[in-house]
């Protein structure tokens, strides 16, 4: 049984950039994904949320064509094996880059354009201009000539996003791009992705184990737990009944100041019923987010970088239930 409360379009609709239908993956004798189905329309910003080991990376790898599914289909812009035709941009999970590696941010972005081609690269003015524009678009021009291994986590993510975007894909897949970033970088990267998605009409599927920083920008959510997925707006999916069904045991969903806490429990102590009159938390357009983040209200007084990211600051973004 798959929990699919609402999808904005039926799977396989003509406007969909990505359609995942009846997808099951079995790896090493374990069912990693079971009958996952959802679709993403053009320009949509979708969060792929789930705890570590929920199958987020596996799902992204299947979409990319790196892992074959056991059952079900993935189609991108109506094509089955489109990942390699430049329709999909991919930002993999945090990769260790050696500071000694003589590859500048600029070189890595250029490889996004023609890294799959054979033969020696010929210097081209058009190519250089295209790389330059992409670097500007993601705010990476300042450190374009630095070795990628010397950049901070947030700077590396900008470069990786530019690398994924330069081939003008229709769909951008990002695997935990916010993990191991400090809180201000998290907000910068989210604002950047929201702006790019809006400006270029690129659909975004971004995986995260922590949904709160993404609440203001997500159009919809794909929640993975127990190998199954629930899809819809945040307020449709992140409810005690739905998530308890996915996890197979009772979980509570607690909303505090527009943040959401998903807590495993017996259901008799902490049970706070979801607010039925609540506005969907995912309808804020990226431009408004940019404005809010731009103030950087509490950021400069924020916790030190080495502490765990404090996603739950009361003044983060706009509370979802107070429009």
């Amino acid at each position: 049984m798959t929990m699919t409360p609402v999808t904005s379009a039926p799977p396989g609709s003509a406007t969909d950039v990505l359609t995942v239908d009846g997808l099951s993956v079995r790896l090493g004798g374990r069912d990693v994904l079971t009958d996952v189905r959802f679709s993403i329309a053009a320009g949509e910003f979708v969060g792929l949320i789930g705890s570590n080991g929920a199958g987020k990376t596996t799902l992204l790898r299947v979409i990319l064509g790196l892992t074959p599914p056991t059952a079900g289909t993935v189609s991108i812009c109506g094509e089955r094996h489109a990942a390699r035709k430049g329709l999909v941009g991919y930002v993999p999970q945090k990769i260790q880059l050696d500071p000694d590696m003589p590859i500048r941010a600029r070189d890595l972005v250029g490889l996004g354009l023609d890294g799959h081609k054979f033969g020696l690269p010929l210097p081209s003015r058009a190519r250089r201009r295209q790389v330059e524009e992409m670097l500007q678009a993601v705010g990476a021009a300042r450190f374009a000539n630095e070795r990628v291994g010397n950049l901070s986590g947030g700077e590396q993510q900008r470069v990786m996003i530019a690398h994924a975007l330069i081939s003008s894909p229709r769909l951008l897949l990002l695997d935990e791009p916010l993990a191991s970033l400090d809180i201000s970088s998290v907000q910068e990267i989210i604002a950047l992705l929201a702006r790019i998605s809006a400006e270029r009409g690129v659909s975004v599927l971004i995986s995260a184990h922590e949904m709160n920083p993404l609440l203001p920008v997500m159009d919809r959510i794909v929640y993975l737990a127990g190998g199954r997925a629930a899809t819809g707006t945040t307020s449709e999916v992140v409810r005690s009944e739905v998530l308890s069904g996915l996890y197979g045991h009772h979980v509570d969903v607690i909303r505090v100041h527009g943040r959401i806490l998903v807590v495993a429990g017996s259901g008799d102590g902490l049970d706070i019923p979801p607010n039925p009159g609540e506005q969907p938390g995912a309808q804020l357009p990226g431009a408004q987010l940019g404005e809010q983040v731009g103030h950087g209200q509490s950021l400069s007084h924020g916790p030190p970088d080495d502490g765990p990211p404090d996603y739950g600051r009361p003044d983060y973004g706009r509370p979802a239930d107070r429009p």
Partner: protein, 317 residues
């Protein structure tokens, strides 16, 4: 002026046929090793390079037994070992050291047998020393065509796979997602390493050949920040140390203690090491990163605010 030249280049240097042959084969081997080595170091395959060099001892020692060119022996076993390493699973992170170690151990075991037979057969340890440590002034002119074939093959692999190799050295997943046949690229890069190591095995010996593969490349990676420049720098550094090594070895026939010359291989490896130390010293003094973080930053859309805040915090920390 001529006096100074005579101090550096002992009389007869440029007219000696063995020296000319050494300059040609040594230079070519070093060039190929530098180019291939840059990618070897970039992709973290130095251990695989080391293993392929060790395994070529097997082919080199075997070639004397059956009377074929040692280069054919080096390259044959190297390419074969590359194939075996790939099929055992060099692509998996954990399989990588395992596959390399297993094949290397098996190869060296055979080499022990072949070298023993070589020694008992010809009643001399000369072959062992030649295979292990090279003998640049005794290279046979007949081997030149094969040297050129191996060089062209190795350079062609790097030239054709230049961008896929770079991309997969950043991340194998990233390359695979772009439709790059990662496995074939990996196998071909191992074959290029095997060929480069075989060429250097002919000139400075199997044991030392990784010094030319890794040394100039590691030096170049420290002092350049672009992939293309790193490759060219590694190749030129390799040729430089090899030619200088040949000059010094030729000069050393008048040196103590025994006045019959020091081996070229010693000079090449010593100069390579000195070059690396020098680069380490120079790049160590230079700040790792140029200061690029202005306090306010250029406006990068919505990100400008937090970026400025972070810069301030960093400055305080």
């Amino acid at each position: 002026m001529t006096g100074l030249l005579h101090v550096l280049f002992a009389p007869g240097f440029f007219t000696s046929p063995p020296v000319r042959l050494a300059l040609l084969t040594g230079g070519l081997a070093a060039f190929v090793s530098g180019v291939v080595g840059a990618f070897t170091v970039l992709r973290g395959q130095s251990y695989a390079g080391h293993a392929l060099a060790d395994i070529s001892v097997t082919g080199g020692s075997g070639s004397y037994l059956i009377g074929i060119s040692p280069l054919l022996g080096f390259a044959g076993t190297g390419v074969l070992a590359a194939g075996i390493m790939d099929s055992i699973g060099i692509r998996r992170p954990r399989g990588r050291d395992l596959a390399t170690g297993i094949v290397r151990g098996a190869g060296l075991g055979l080499a022990a047998l072949f070298l023993y037979w070589d020694t008992t057969h010809s009643n001399t340890t000369g072959i062992t020393v030649t295979v292990l440590f090279g003998s640049m002034f005794t290279i046979s002119p007949a081997v030149i065509p094969l040297v050129i074939v191996c060089s062209v093959l190795a350079l062609a692999i790097v030239a054709v796979l230049y961008r896929p190799l770079l991309l997969s050295s950043v991340s194998g997943d990233l390359a695979a997602a772009r439709g790059i046949p990662v496995r074939i690229v990996g196998l071909l890069s191992l074959i290029a390493i095997a060929l480069a190591v075989s060429l250097s095995a002919l000139t400075i010996g199997t044991i030392l050949s990784t010094a030319l593969l890794v040394g100039p490349a590691a030096t170049a990676l420290r002092i350049t920040r672009r992939p293309g420049r790193a490759t060219v720098t590694a190749a030129l550094l390799g040729v430089g140390v090899t030619w200088l090594g040949i000059v010094l070895a030729y000069d050393s026939f008048t040196w103590p203690p025994r006045h019959d010359g020091w081996p070229v291989s010693f000079f090449v490896v010593a100069l390579t090491f000195a070059g690396y130390l020098l680069a380490q010293l120079v790049s160590g003094r230079r700040p790792v990163r140029r200061a690029v973080r202005p306090a306010a930053g250029r406006a990068t859309g919505p990100a400008a605010g937090p970026a400025a805040g972070r810069a301030v915090r960093r400055a305080e920390g």
